[in-house]
Amino acid sequence: MLALDKKDTTLFLIVLAAVIFAPFLLNPFPEGSELAQFNAGYPDLLQRFLIFGIFAIGFNILFGLTGYLSFGHAAFLGVGSYAGVWMMKLLTMNVVPAILMSIVFAGLFSLLVGYISLRRSGIYFSILTLAFAQMSFALAYSVLTPITNGETGLQLALDDPRVLGVSQVNGSIPPTNLFGLPMRESFELTMGGWVFTFNAGYYLCAVFMMVAFYLAIRIFRSPFGMMLRAVKSNQQRMNYTGLNSRPYTLAAFVISGMYAGLAGGLMVAMDPLAGAERMQWTASGEVVLMTILGGAGTLIGPVLGAGFIKYFENIFSKINDNILHQWFAFLPDGLEDALVFVIHPFIGKGWHLTLGIMFMLIVIFLPGGIVEGFRRLAQIGRRGTGGGKKSADAVPAPAE
């Protein structure tokens, strides 16, 4: 199907199903129950899963295939966001031109950065991309204030021209929409104790995400993708065979920059504002974490990693001492307090500590990320049951 082989088709269909039914799947606990805080089925978080999933898929096309570790990808996301907001300020609140323009601008910017940075490789490449990203961050913060609105961040205003649309409706800024369908429109379905929310913006992201994912599969399986893998495994040998690898790596860089731009454009489509902190190097570090955590160089890994980090970021940072005390209430008081005391540094504001530790453990023991973890589990399972060759090809179901 769709010019994919059987295995990839299965993977694609699983991801498609997971994305379509995510508002169901991620809301397993009834409303008002104690476990409802673990639900991830609300639009804001779901959108973030997909947007960062796209970002990480794009990053993986560069890092996973060519091995070039870029520490400045957030800059492209930021450029995309700014371009998107400007389209909404100047043209219309329809999200289509905003998203298109964010892809185009991020692509152009990544062409410039890539052209220069790819002259070097290894750690020098990382430093060059880092330098470019920090430069754009610093400039967006200070000198480019007329374009980026500096510290406050770029926002829509009532008196923006919006030549193809209307500046304001009844004294307020019109919502972002897709040909009249507002992005924040949701449909709520109540079934027993459960409330499922289906959000228009989420499904727009889902469409883009599936297209992005499909393109990534095609790139992975294409001769172009093979060439990129060759760059990773031995660039010197490629050069000796008389092949210039720079056009290929540059193409991969620009493609991944455009993915980042798409992610930035979608962020703007969901919530029309853009700030310089999106370009800071910690944001670039985050996408590196996502890709590694999920499994660099695998198709599904980056999506898993993005979902994993965004989910735990939301859930972990919500848990506080009171909730812990409730959980451990069945234990004797002294033990309860001791447990809460031990766990306390890792939850709430300490979420980054947990993330850092998890990340280190993954890099140390499981360099292939979550995907490799599943593969090993499957192997152990196969050995245990003593057969079932099929499970070897089984692709782990996406968590998001």
Binding site: I123, I127, F132, Q235, G350, F359, I364
Partner: protein, 343 residues
């Protein structure tokens, strides 16, 4: 002329910090071949050593003074730091006042332990792994260290003043025969600069004039041959890692009065220090030091009002811009050795 001199002086303190961190980074890279993204965290831990010591010294015993009353008529509580009780009020007050320089002594064993623990506990296992893995694991470690410090000390900067004797400024211009009141320079910054020069000198003479240093230099040039001669080069490299940690830590201790320590100061410096290392030339110790001072001074020139008026925003990006230009024109950096991280 005086404006130029002033900018050079202003660049010295930041330049010293860059040079010290970059020196440590290069030591680690040159000996162990590891790219240490957690080096900024070591700098930060050093700064927090100063905070911890000044808190330890001001631990107080609370006694009630029956003769004095507060405005509500209750007996006044008097807090007396233990050091003042033990050593008498004058000596005690002086010790508290000098807590930052004293923290140097306090930080050396701590940083050595942290460095040894890091190298033996984690980095040892990453010699054979690709550079990308080394970057990633030390990046994770940096996040962890940073968050641990944040958990114990909070997110706000903690002011850690210099001793009173160095707290003011002095008229540097008048000292060298220029018009008075043209070049006013804070004492502590000159102290920091001299301190950095001292540390750098100590590290270089350690490498140059001791047998241990000679072996280490030989190991940097050709690790295998040194190993074949029956010398345990790994143990010496571990010591060098601890030394690099101490250098970063001391840079942090002395930087505490200039910039109040906060948990993310390490990351801020790390990015710039990496740029410094690359500009200086990966693996070149003199390169790291020269590039550190050079970029610090350049940064301060770029933030002159006249320059900023001419090229707005240049002060924010000058270091990165220089790095990009150098990397593209002189791929090995200013003083890079041949064959080090060429690919």
């Amino acid at each position: 002329m005086d404006a130029i001199l002033l900018q050079i002086l202003n660049g010295l303190d930041k330049g010293s910090a860059y040079a010290l961190i970059a020196l440590g980074l290069t030591l680690i890279f040159g000996t162990l071949g590891v790219v240490n993204f957690a080096h900024g965290a070591l700098f930060m831990i050093g700064a927090f050593c100063a905070v911890v010591l000044s808190r330890l010294l001001t631990l107080s015993s609370v006694s009630i003074d029956p003769e004095k009353v507060d405005f509500l008529g209750k007996p006044l509580k008097v807090e007396t730091p233990y050091v003042e009780l033990w050593f008498g009020p004058e000596v005690g007050a002086a010790i508290i006042n000098w807590s930052v320089p004293l923290a140097i002594l306090f930080a050396i064993p701590i940083m050595a332990l942290v460095g040894l623990a890091m190298e033996r506990g984690l980095i040892k296992y990453f010699y054979k792994r690709p550079h990308a893995d080394q970057i990633l694991v030390t990046f994770g470690l940096a996040i962890v260290l940073q968050e641990v410090i944040k958990y114990f000390f909070g997110a706000n900067p903690i002011p850690t003043p210099a001793p009173d004797a160095f707290s003011g400024s002095f008229d540097f211009g008048a000292m060298i025969g220029m018009d008075p009141n043209v070049i006013i320079y804070p004492y502590w910054r000159i102290v920091y600069f001299l301190f950095a020069i001292g540390i750098i000198g100590a590290v270089f003479s350690f490498l140059q004039f001791t047998t241990f240093g000679m072996v280490v230099r030989a190991g940097m040039a050709d690790r295998e041959t040194v190993g074949l001669l029956g010398i345990n080069i790994d143990r010496r490299f571990t010591v060098m890692f601890a030394l690099a940690a101490i250098v970063a830590g001391l840079a942090g201790v002395m930087y505490a009065p200039i910039n109040s320590p906060n948990y993310h100061m390490g990351m801020d410096f790390l990015v710039l220090s990496f740029v410094v290392v690359v500009v200086g030339g990966m693996g070149s110790l003199p390169g790291a030091v020269v590039a550190g001072f050079l970029l610090g001074i350049l940064e301060s020139f770029a933030s002159m009002a006249q320059v900023v008026a001419f090229l707005p925003g240049i002060n924010q990006i000058i270091i990165y811009l220089v790095a990009i230009v150098i990397l593209l024109t002189r791929p090995r950096g200013l003083m890079g050795r041949k064959g080090v991280m060429e690919s």
